[in-house]
Amino acid sequence: MIAMETILDVQDLQTYYRTGKQVVPAVDGVSFRLAKGEVLGIVGESGSGKSTVVRSIIRLLDKNTTRIENGRVLFRGKDLLKLSGRELRGIRGKSISMVFQNPLSSLNPVYTIGNQIQEAILTHESMSRAKARDRALHLLEQVEIPSPELRLDDYPHQLSGGMQQRVLIAMALACQPEIILADEPTTALDVTIQSQILELLSRIRDERNMSIILITHNMGVIAEMCDRMLVMYGGVVMEEGKCTDVFASPLHPYTLGLLASIPSLEEEKEELYAIPGQVPHFNAPVSSCRFCSRCDQVFTRCREEEPPFIQIGDGRFVRCWLYAQENETNNG
């Protein structure tokens, strides 16, 4: 395989929330690379830090409660975390755009969808209104909205949830972005509509060689859409690898637990595996494996020291003491 060009390089990202006296280490040292044309999935339970990762990339965070403590996000050699607000706005929505879970709250209720797509275009490119309207029409066609010329003048609430999500995708595509950050884009939709949207995203990726970061808590969606995946828990990446590898031989006890707790369509299980307990609250700094309170393979070292991100093979990593090599153990 040819080495793929890296388009986004996230290095040791740390994003903390401060609420009152509490500090929540929502993202606590996350690194990964996104290649051109690649779909990277991020999966993990609620609160594991998935949204905070992608929101940090384009700095869509509340300044009053959130701080990016550390890290670099390199896009075309530039660190996005160091850009001025103005430089960032030039990238956000143009080179990198986002699609969120709840389409209705991302659309403005008082403007027609045609208007909103045109705005998205005109923010970044100068052209006549008529031309922008043409482009908007074309985008709606691309995302398979039936009779798009009629729909341009509809208001968001006049569309179904699936159509609203397609409009959001059209807006995200308006300026030919290189990266789309999709945060649970189908979680609010029915399965048959979810299928349509996922197929649409795949097709656009193929046509434009775009890169996508896809957040979901649905392992099935990851398996169908993504080339590589990150499994997050407690603000860190627990496992990373090609999807085919991770699903064929999951390494981390957390990944194993997540996969085993999904009711299977193929085999009948009387009882599902259930990861005991619930996601605990973490305080920074963490000095144990973040999963140790729920892990069924926990041993002494897990409670004393946070495991490093251990490389197992080509692009394959796991954060678990079970995989530490002898020499590392001796050093520790």
């Binding site: 997540l258 707790s261 369509l265």
Partner: protein
């Protein structure tokens, strides 16, 4: 299994008027939220109800609970008609668990009051008598007795769902209607709650109606499955027969749309064109015709439910024609 159904639903209908205008409230049509639904539920079984948003699952649940009046047809619980004004002795036999473990519990009440609430309404008991009922149930749902003095916000989503289950159990009902009870939970917590439902079924011999839009969850919990679309039953069958031989094009599409966490098991996806039609403009004839890949002229006439195997019924003209799909 007992031969007499514990619950009989016969041609149940519920329509809501659709009005327009704030002041004039002009009637512009009706939504047939539940349209001619019939089935029997037998003691000790779990009937899974699956279908997409707005297909009438929750409305059906409300009808079965007697929380809203029927527009037509009838529903009988142990032979007696279910109605909003049915006697308490009857109502206690059927309880409901809701989707949202966050909003379905009153945040101002502690857990003891929440769980004991049905007892207050239904009987006059001393504190000790209540404890005798509540404490074993708390244990069965996996909550400590100490939880009784806490408030809902102190619990996680999965624990709150357990509180809702405890509340549904205190009157010792025979039937429990679960309306999307795990949809708001993470898979790990979902597994805990699904296991709890299974163990309660064993311990207490419960009968469930289990509503979900997640086919893998429905497959896991159900003995029989009913597939709904726009208020109507498309297919109803034992789990085995449905998974071995789904006959309705909608059921087939629904099954093929489930993303599976197994890249090796990639299936031939049936991608449906278009959106779910608005129930206000439900087409005459088969409700699925606007999205059905196999629709034909005949589908403008409404297909009746036809038996295609033991306990397996399908509402589709392809079946009438004897076409095997």
């Amino acid at each position: 299994m007992d031969n007499n159904p514990i619950l009989e639903v016969k041609e149940a209908r519920k329509s809501y008027p659709v009005t327009k205008g704030f002041i004039s409230r002009k009637n512009i049509g009706t939504v047939k939220a539940v349209d001619n639904v019939s089935f029997n539920l037998y003691k000790g079984e779990t009937l899974g109800v699956i279908g997409e948003s707005g297909c009438g699952k929750s409305t059906l649940a409300k009808l079965i609970m007697g929380l809203t009046t029927l527009s037509g047809g009838e529903i009988r619980l142990k032979g007696e008609p279910v109605r909003p004004d049915m006697p308490l002795t009857m109502r206690r036999n059927i309880q409901m668990i809701f989707q949202d473990p966050y909003s379905s519990l009153d945040p101002r009440m502690n857990v003891r009051r929440i769980v004991e609430e049905p007892l207050r309404i239904h009987e006059n008991l001393s504190k000790e008598e209540k404890n005798k009922i509540v404490l074993p149930i708390m244990e069965q749902v996996g909550l400590s007795a100490g939880a009784l003095d806490k408030f809902p916000h102190e619990f996680s989503g999965g624990q709150r769902q357990r509180i809702g289950i405890a509340r549904a159990l205190v009157l010792n009902p025979e039937v429990i209607v679960c309306d999307e009870p795990v949809s708001a939970l993470d898979v790990s917590i979902q597994a805990q709650v699904l296991n709890l439902f299974a163990s309660l079924k064993k311990i207490r011999g419960l009968t469930y109606i289990f509503i979900s839009h997640d086919m893998s969850v429905i497959k896991h919990v159900s003995d029989r499955i009913m597939v709904m679309y726009l208020g109507q039953v498309m297919e109803i069958s034992s789990k085995r027969s449905l998974f071995g031989n789904a006959r309705h094009p909608y059921t087939q599409a629904l099954m093929s749309a489930i993303p599976e966490p197994n890249p090796a098991a990639m299936k031939n996806r049936i991608i449906l064109k278009g959106d779910l039609p608005s129930p206000i403009h439900a087409p005459a004839g088969c409700p699925f015709q606007s999205r059905c890949p196999q629709a034909m002229d005949k589908c403008r006439i409404k297909p009746e439910l036809k038996q295609v195997g033991e306990g397996h019924y399908v509402a589709c003209h392809l079946v009438n024609e004897g076409v095997v799909s």
